[in-house]
């Protein structure tokens, strides 16, 4: 299998193009995870702790949006950011920033939905105790998010996995411009269609390795921290 040999060679040689692509991919996906957590975790907690008309509908919608097709999110963000779109003046289309926006929208539900479930379960356990201590609504949210921190890591990982693996959204809003918005997944799609299988394979191997390594690291942290905190 000469293709695989070349793929390993590219990795082992530390090919500059290849590592620029890896860096961009990770940067975009990690930014998206950070932003989506800042929005998705409080959103999930609010949905778990408050009662208002239309809440059930919102919960169903949120769960459904965990399966949002990336191309559809990409298309929506594209329309938003295109020159004639409402946010066209920002000039973000075909930049890494646009890719971050698209991936953030894509994974907010993936982080918010499990957060809501976790916080709801924890609240039913903590309810009396926190009410007896006179903890207000904001304090409840902060307390529950903090005490659920280990379970929430799993939601975070799911979000990262989704962001790192998707092609559709970054392809549409990033444009797959070489050296600027070309990520691992868009490169794999492109190189495969061009017939340059070594680079595609090399990236595939790296992508999977990174996802496994990050999961292992977070898992290890979780096990260690749970032992510390009970």
């Amino acid at each position: 299998m000469p293709e695989q040999l070349t793929a390993w060679q590219l990795i082992l040689d530390g090919d500059a193009t290849l590592f620029a692509i890896v860096r961009l991919s990770l940067g975009v996906s990690l930014c998206a995870v950070a932003l989506a957590s800042l929005i998705g975790m409080p959103l999930g907690a609010i949905l778990a702790l408050t009662r208002f008309p239309g809440r059930s509908g919102l919960v169903v919608l949120l769960n459904a949006f965990m399966g949002l097709p990336p191309v559809v999110v990409g298309l929506a963000v594209y329309l938003l950011l295109s020159r004639s779109g409402p946010l066209g003046a920002l000039g973000l289309l075909f930049t890494p920033a646009a890719m971050v926006v698209a991936q953030t929208i894509l994974i907010i539900p993936i982080i918010a939905a499990p957060t809501r479930q976790t916080i709801a379960d924890l609240w039913s356990e903590y309810r009396d105790e926190l009410r007896a201590m006179g903890v207000g609504p904001v304090g409840r949210m902060m307390t529950l998010l903090w005490d659920a921190r280990f379970s929430l890591l799993t939601a975070l990982l799911a979000g990262f996995g989704r962001a790192a693996a998707e092609v559709g959204a970054v392809m549409i809003v990033g444009g797959n411009i070489a050296g600027f918005t070309r990520t691992m997944t868009t490169t794999i799609a492109l190189e495969t269609s061009k017939g340059d299988l070594p680079l595609a394979l090399g990236l595939g191997v790296i992508l999977i390795t990174i996802v496994i390594a990050i999961n292992a690291a977070v898992w290890g942290t979780r096990v260690w921290a749970e032992r510390q905190a009970g």
């Binding site: 009396d128 007896a132 510390q228």
Partner: protein, 241 residues
């Protein structure tokens, strides 16, 4: 001791009924809790002891009648604290659990460490301060729950069978803390179905059966001269339901 100008005492329960769906948990209960020796709420399981304590804490609103704390009907638990039968430990260290209660009670951050250490010393958990609270034994968790409750500097401390699932040594440790709290002027209201505990702790007794108060009198009167046949049967150790 006095932190807020207003007091939660006397705690007055006036003709209170409590229903959960079709189930009647409490039926026209009237009770006045004033400063003094511990009041023990006695009765078999299912008599309504937990419901009565939750009413006293303001965690549930009565279906009929009303509960007032120092004449006020508001529900914010400022001068009262409660220890549940199975207290929930926050997923933090022992010290952090007390620190959390202190923060909620409005103790400024710089004072929390010293106050927390003092509280942990009072319940004998100072050596376990850094241990995750959920790794503590049942007895230790109950004592930590007491420390958290005392962190609120309550006037009234409500306890729901705090020794129900503990062995004798752990029960004694809990009782000693309760007695210490009572001696420091905190009004103790404690549910129990353990007559030995009533004998050791109670100043007066509220005998609760099927959601109604059958007797309310001094502990010695209750134990020696029960006025109702139900209480007499309960004291004999008959199965009263």
């Amino acid at each position: 001791m006095m932190r807020a100008p207003s007091s939660d005492l006397p705690l007055v329960i006036d003709e209170v009924s409590l229903h959960a769906g079709a189930t009647r948990l409490l039926d026209r209960v009237s009770l006045t809790i004033i400063r003094g020796a511990p009041t023990l709420i006695v009765g078999p399981n299912g008599a309504g002891k937990t419901s009565l304590l939750r009413l006293c804490m303001g965690l549930v609103s009565p279906t009929a009648g009303r509960v007032t704390w120092g004449g006020r009907t508001e529900h914010a638990p400022e001068r009262r604290a409660m220890v549940f039968q199975r207290p929930v430990m926050l997923r933090r260290s022992t010290a952090a659990n007390v620190g959390y209660a202190l923060a909620q009670a409005g103790v400024p951050r710089p004072q929390r460490a010293a106050r927390g250490a003092d509280l942990l010393a009072r319940v004998g958990l100072l050596e376990l301060a850094e241990r995750p609270a959920r790794r503590l034994s049942a007895g230790e968790q109950q004592r930590l729950a007491l420390a958290r409750a005392l962190a609120r500097q309550p006037e009234i401390l409500l306890l729901d069978e705090p020794t129900a699932s503990l062995d004798p040594a752990a029960s004694r440790a809990v009782e000693e803390i309760v007695l210490m709290a009572a001696q420091s002027g905190i009004k103790i209201v404690m549910a129990s179905h353990d007559l030995g505990q009533v004998r050791r702790l109670a100043g007066d007794v509220v005998f609760l059966l099927r959601g109604t108060v059958h007797e309310q009198r001094s502990a010695s009167d209750f134990l020696e001269r029960p006025a109702t046949p139900e209480a007499a049967a309960f004291l004999r150790g008959d199965l009263v339901i």
